[in-house]
Symmetry: C2
Subunit: 780 residues, 2 copies
């Protein structure tokens, strides 16, 4: 987006017509041409000029015009082809090949970078987390594993690694207190550093970034959101935020980081830099790479990008995204310093078949997940609204410090809240083996025991319930703070705990009623028949589904993450139940909720406009009065400058004397056209009082003023999108969504009567959904 | 599509206006209302009438208008909602719930049916194939396995199953000849029955069906193509065709069969029966189910439907398709009588890692696959063109009989052509173990052997080369005959053989140059280092990719089919190479090739219109002269009937006196409106000479003729899609693709100057692509 910051040069060409048509020589033609090319009077200039790239002038927080962007890209490619055909030599062939390959080169580099960034974050997180309990003597930069590993090389026993020093001895009371204090202090310190970095350098680096990425991909301009500063700060602060022990994940923000990588790489290729529509193709691929590295799920990543994030997703992009996601996953695996097969994040070893009756608890898990989703979304949005109004909004640093300290104090006593969320999920997904020292697996396998549940499992159950309450509550107030914060892992943790609890409950029920017909015969004893780890996975899918309302991508991610192809039906059942409950009793997923909260101009593809009676004529502008138009037969700089000063509109229709629409000119093109024309005439561009004729057609004007007129026929858009006044709102929405235009003109029996911009439509949608006339004003 | 066959009743309502506006009482209003409702003069009739469903009148081989279909569905839902809000009781709630659930019910039933159909085909194919070599004494309906299985129950050894009788003893010369004769005879018989059934009952049941399904999904009407007869005949003849030994597969046609199921099920739900756009959502899900049962690949099926088949694929459909595909896969597995885990079709047990240098042979396989694809497509299309012109086209029965007999004779001697293609693929994908009796694995593992390749493998290699040549050649002339015939398995066979050969070649190279630096160190001996089965899988993916030009869906299908998640990179590399070669040196995939060959009106989403200079004005109709229009202020039945008789157009614009577009009316609506109006006036509907005024507006006409006028304002479309004359062809294509309209009107400065139909655009595309003005005339 930084490309917009420097002023854009206009090519001004004196058109040289044959001598028998001398009159035309006096006009000046304007075209948005190549940057930096000289203002020539060369006869070939017009031809040369057409080969330049049209630049779009978007303001920050503006919407792009997909329809026009596409048109420009098509024109450019046609020109390139024509040019190549004119001089068919090897250089041109290579150039066209390079042009075709550039997309692939970009996605390869994006994949490598995204994998690298994820690797850096992984390593840093591990190191910082370990630093909360101790340090490596002499090698502060090593984490516990690496420290002991290098220690082992010198022949010392791994279990009694001497190089690693805990802050205190957990077996003594004093040591324990010391450990607790260090845990809280380090956590708060990390969080503080993170929030300061974000606040000072890149305010856009906070949060999950997915709502914003969705909005950007739908055609919104947010300068700097995908900038290099954001990339750097987000990559650095994510490990800090995660290892601070805050209830947040690094998976969602990785999508944002990958998109930053994508944006950075695309800046080196003019084809993608200068075309916002093409750029978004690359960003879609980046989003896929982000999920791919976050979960080691390349297919799930592509489906996530398709289902959840992307807006415009041609088939070519699908294939490239897949490639990008795969490269990213493998580059992460290649650099992974821990040696574990990161491609399967929470790999489960078991493939015990589930029983048909188990679908019932899975559906219950789905319903619970859906309800949790609704509850979480509503509470989180309420909290975010409260934050905006309260003192917390003004003092993000204070909020984060209090939250980090509070979280540390609350989390330390319970082993299930103390350990990192990722490790907890892995623990919960695991199956129980005999003689397992995991308290969750403290079953009594002897024949003559009265119950299979020993004390260890009972205690663990209570600890899990406590952890569930603490983690859920903290997640609600954590998502939205000014540090990078994802929701995937916290949601999965909540679901996984619930799932494990429901699994143990099912075991207890089976133990209590062993002869019930639905499981008698298939279920000899509860421990061999019910696998609580599977319930945990299903619960995680359900909760994540409830919060994000993902469907296909969620099921695919879950099966890629766990490697459990045989559990695809439980995942599906739970996701479906969760989604239905969510849709029936709640509104949007969390990302759409935050989009609405932040009033981003996102035209949701899932909106159903059932307002039959509203037509285009009712929401168009101007509501009454006449439209501000420019006469096609010509105007003067004075009139146009007055018009520009009087009306803030981003573009103006050009109409005939009968009021019929001919073309459209954007505000920026008009302003720059006039300024450039004046500059060429060596007039002061700011002096609006020196009048000059402005023409929009190639035909000779009827009245030729004293001064040389400015001709703008090359910068106007001759094919604006038009609809009839009686078009229903549903079809208007369809036109905006599908064609991606920024505005459509409304005709009444062929006559221009108004226009609808994307923002008018969004305003209408917000109003009808919220019955709240005051909402959605920020981007008006 | 059969719903169109009976005539559609029009509701004619005398509008009752207040008495102070007596004049209006004399008009008759027309609306496309509920079928069979009485023509009432009830004051509430107008209201009641609006709740009916608008029916679309499509001719066979016509295109649907997605844009209008969508509008009608939206209107209907809005009405339902409004109605429900008026009387909010439990019945309405249940009704709306049932309406929402109907989509899910349909996909569930489709999934079950598709699984069932696939199961029937599987069982029948197995039985018929076995019947070529022998029969089960006393139980002719059992296949060899079942026959011997029931035999074993009586305590007889499985290997010496006495109930199953071969036609001859393969150990004697006479028996061998007898077996050969029976093989040829039975094969020819099966093929003959299949072609007769297809020809007599359902001619649409032939071929793979994927090109037609693609075209139908893009909005084309082909009555009966998805009918019940086609479903029945295709399900019955597919096992015959496959077991006849012809070089064809049953996987592609399963997509067609599943779509027939989808169409049949949708007929029970008016919401889907009466709306072609909604129907197509279900067909997309069916296509996913088809691939899912064909390969046991639910995710691959959804991606196939998305990437290859579907045209309009909203996110809701994605999730439903996934559900449908999963139900289908599990219903097939539930009914599978062979007990093998059909969910993974060609399950491979090995997960030996591949070496980095092996990517080089994989790329070569990809290139070979791409070249094979080009060669196959060109030769097959040439052969199909030749068939159309030659005697073969008139005598499909003769062609099939000759082909079946010839195939049998050619295939029998070589064990690799004799066995079913599916079994061959399984054999080729398998890894080699020590002391394997598979001749392909006849390696010498002893330390002091001069070569690891024994005679068995050398012989098998030559047999494979022969099989490759025979199978490829036969596939070229088989695809397109008048029996159900798929391409997936034949393409995969070709690729798998090539892959296995390249794998063995790589082993030989390594044996010859064991010290080459790229594999020295990682590769101790060729047999332990190179797995020819993996090469076979990669080759299959490459060849299938070359022929169909699938990408993501292919990789996902391959990994689902083989269960080899670890081989996703080799699949990807080969698919990519194959796709690039194919795109660089060839034109379309085989399905698009057949769409072009058959001149189906398919608007390919992949077409790139780089003709910068062509604009809407250049391809619109009428090229010269004036447009046939209807005046908005009114017309007479006589004039309209004359116009209908003179011009074959499928619709007419309604314009003001200044020539500005107001609305659009389809030919059928106009015809039926006039007929219904006359009927109400008790006039002979066929008598064009009794004149009556026809009005299109609610406002009082200036001139009121003697007779009661017909008012058509409810059947006309007030929001036709319009574009400017200067719109580039690329944008016109975009409008057609994205909005799915059947025609757009072209305006010059707000004035109607012409229109472009989908067929005009297709004509233009065909012309520019083929530089052949005579092509594409069939559907003109």
């Amino acid at each position: 987006m930084e490309t917009r910051s420097r002023p854009i040069a206009l090519n001004i060409i004196k058109t040289d017509f044959p001598n028998d048509d001398m009159e035309r020589k006096d006009f000046v033609e304007l075209d948005l041409g190549k940057e930096g090319s000289s203002y020539g009077s060369d006869p070939d200039a017009l031809e040369e000029d057409f080969t330049g790239e049209t630049k779009f002038h978007y303001k920050d927080f503006g919407s792009i015009d997909w329809y026009r962007e596409l048109a420009v890209d098509q024109r450019k490619r046609a020109r390139d082809k024509e040019k190549a055909e004119k001089t068919p030599n090897i250089v041109n062939y290579i150039r066209s090949l390079a042009d075709a390959a550039s997309g692939w080169i970009i996605v390869t580099v994006i994949g490598l970078l995204a994998g690298f960034a994820a690797g850096v974050i992984d390593i840093a997180t591990k190191w910082l987390s370990d630093l909360k309990s101790g340090y490596c003597r002499g090698h502060l930069y090593l984490n516990q594993e690496q420290c002991c590993w290098s220690d082992t090389l010198h022949g010392i026993d791994e279990d009694n690694c001497t190089a690693w020093r805990d802050y205190g001895n957990p077996n003594t009371y004093g040591g324990h207190v010391l450990l607790f204090i260090m845990y809280c202090l380090m956590g708060t310190l990390f969080a503080t550093i993170a929030v300061i970095l974000v606040k000072m350098i890149a305010p856009y680096a906070c949060g999950s970034g997915i709502p914003e990425v969705k909005t950007i991909l739908s055609g919104f301009i947010m300068k700097g959101y995908l900038g290099f500063g954001t990339l750097l700060v987000k990559t650095l602060t994510m490990p800090l935020a995660v290892s601070a022990g805050l209830m947040l994940g690094k998976e969602g923000p990785l999508v944002h980081v990958a998109c930053c990588c994508g944006h950075a790489v695309s800046q080196f290729f003019p084809k993608y830099r200068n075309n916002q529509a093409k750029l978004r193709e690359m960003l879609s691929a980046s989003a896929a790479a982000g999920v791919s590295v976050a979960f080691g799920a390349p297919i799930g990543g592509v489906l996530f990008s398709l289902e959840e994030v992307s807006y415009y997703f041609p088939l070519k992009t699908l294939w490239r995204s897949f490639f990008c996601a795969l490269i990213a996953a493998f580059s992460l695996r290649a650099m992974n310093p821990f040696g574990n097969q990161h491609l399967v994040l929470f790999y489960v070893e078991y493939d015990k078949p589930y029983h048909l009756f188990e679908l019932f608890p899975f559906i219950i898990l789905g319903i619970l997940g859906g309800l949790y989703g609704i509850l979480f979304i509503n509470m989180n949005l309420s909290w975010c609204r409260f934050r905006k109004r309260s003192i917390l909004g003004q003092h993000p640093l204070l909020e984060v410090v209090i939250l980090a300290l509070g979280t540390s104090i609350l989390a330390y006593p319970n082993p299930y809240t103390r350990i990192q969320s990722g490790h907890l999920i892995r623990l919960l997904f695991k199956e129980c083996k005999r003689y397992d020292d995991n308290p969750l697996c403290d079953y009594n396998y002897s024949q003559n025991a009265t119950t299979v549940f020993n004390d260890g499992i009972t205690q663990a159950t209570w600890q899990l319930i406590l952890a569930l309450v603490v983690k859920s509550a903290l997640t609600v107030i954590t998502f939205g703070i000014k540090v990078p914060a994802g929701l995937f892992i916290p949601s999965m943790v909540t679901g996984a705990i619930t799932g494990r609890l429901i699994g143990i409950l099912t075991q207890k029920i089976i133990e209590a009623f062993p002869t019930l017909s639905i499981w008698e015969g298939v279920c000899a004893d509860p421990t061999s028949c019910i696998e609580p780890g599977l319930y945990s996975m299903v619960g995680a899918a359900a909760a994540l589904g409830g919060v994000t309302r993902m469907t296909v991508s969620l099921v695919v991610i879950m099966f890629e993450v766990t490697g459990g192809l045989q559990y695809i039906v439980p995942f599906m059942v739970a996701t479906m139940a969760s989604k239905w409950i969510g849709d029936a009793f709640g509104k949007d997923g969390i990302y759409d909720g935050h989009i609405t909260l932040n009033e981003y101009p996102y035209l949701d593809v899932k909106i159903d406009m059932q307002q039959q009676k509203t037509t285009a004529g009712q929401i168009m502008n101007p509501k009454g009065g006449t439209m501000v138009t420019i006469p096609f037969q010509g105007s003067t700089t004075e009139k146009l400058c007055t018009m520009l000063a009087d009306h803030p509109f981003s573009g103006f229709p050009i109409v005939t004397v009968q009021g019929r629409l001919v073309a459209f000119i954007t505000r920026e093109d008009l302003q720059e056209g006039i300024a450039a024309g004046r500059k060429l005439m060596t007039l002061d561009p700011n002096d609006a009082h020196i009048d000059q004729t402005v023409l929009f057609t190639m035909s000779t004007p009827l009245v030729s003023a004293g001064r040389v007129p400015i001709r703008l026929n090359n910068v106007i858009d001759y094919s604006p999108v038009t609809i009839s006044e009686q078009t229903s709102i549903a079809l208007v929405l369809e036109v905006f969504r599908k064609l991606g235009c920024r505005q459509v003109f409304v005709l009444r029996q062929g006559e221009l009567v108004g226009l609808i911009t994307k923002k008018d439509l969004l305003q209408f949608i917000y109003e009808t959904r919220n019955n709240d006339q005051t909402s959605y004003t920020q981007f008006k």
